[in-house]
Amino acid sequence: MSKIKPSKGAPYARILGVGGYRPTRVVPNEVILETIDSSDEWIRSRSGITTRHWANDEETVAAMSLEASGKAIADAGITPQQIGAVVVSTVSHFKQTPAVATEIADKLGTDRAAAFDISAGCAGFGYALTLAKGMVVEGSAEYVLVIGVERLSDLTDLQDRKTAFLFGDGAGAAVVGPSKEPAIGPTVWGSEGDKSETIKQTVPWTDYREGAAHRPEKFPAITQEGQAVFRWAVFEMAKVAQQALDAAGITAAELDVFIPHQANMRIIDSMVKTLKLPESVTVARDVETTGNTSAASIPLAMERLLATGEAKSGDTALVIGFGAGLAYAATVVTLP
């Protein structure tokens, strides 16, 4: 039998740089109130959101990704040619073929990097990060560009008073590369497909096919069962977050930063309480001015904490994404 030479990767992987892009248009709650019967006070008390960013026609999924990626690559101190793979997590790129990752890899000037999209909703960044870590350690890529990007304003029902205020647009990117020390802990991840109805797109695209028996009046949108999602996110995801800490061998007292998916301030606050995180832990609360940007929320929040100095390079951070699927992924990382 012929002997196959194994691939050779790095001993460990780490996040080397992070970058974000928020669309130029800032949308306050007053604009949301033009199409739903609600109040600024109600929106703030239920979600903690005061403003969100909505993309314009030029701020496409690819354009926002390129902006965020450029910053992440510069932050990592590498060149685009060194990137071996580009992984994009999104649920709001409306041209499914080809994968938007290929366009991004090309326009960034990578040397024909492997490129593909994944769909894991709000858990997408953690899923992509886990794939990237595997590639770096296994040796199929020295550097991997991970992007979480969404234009959720395209999937928002502006007449739905339960969700119209929640979603925002943006892109977050991270460069994952080799490390001498462990800097991305074990991932605790999974899915609960039996709960898939709690967060979903209202109708499939095929309902719009020519000749379809019933063509929906409204463009598809994301809907969710608020109370069920809240219970799952706070109480089940707090257990997952704790498992990720345990798997990494990090105690709550040793943790510097907590970056949960920016779904809703109430979920974040209740998770912090349920996890009994000490006050010394910096908590990402980017949702207030960015809204829920699904796969983009964790890298966007990470970038902001580092930019404002609330978190610093070398800090130990617990990241957890959770959402449609229902899918989740949590891990402990060293911040770039």
Binding site: S45, R46, G226, Q227, A228, F230, R231, V234, R266, S270
Partner: protein, 82 residues
Amino acid sequence: MAATQEEIVAGLAEIVNEIAGIPVEDVQMDKSFTDDLDVDSLSMVEVVVAAEERFDVKIPDDDVKNLKTVGDATDYILKHQS
């Protein structure tokens, strides 16, 4: 041992006080969580989870929406506690 109606109301009062800051004495059988006690739909989930733990009972999401008053929740717990 199963809790009595009085014990359940007292327990719910403590939970509502802890989660929503409502005075314990305001939490009475006839009070509506949302209309009288200012417990919104998300805080209600926290109340339900705390009640599940305290009274060793399971309250599925589908049943939560039927628990309008403290009396509704008390009756539910009385009926379902193990």
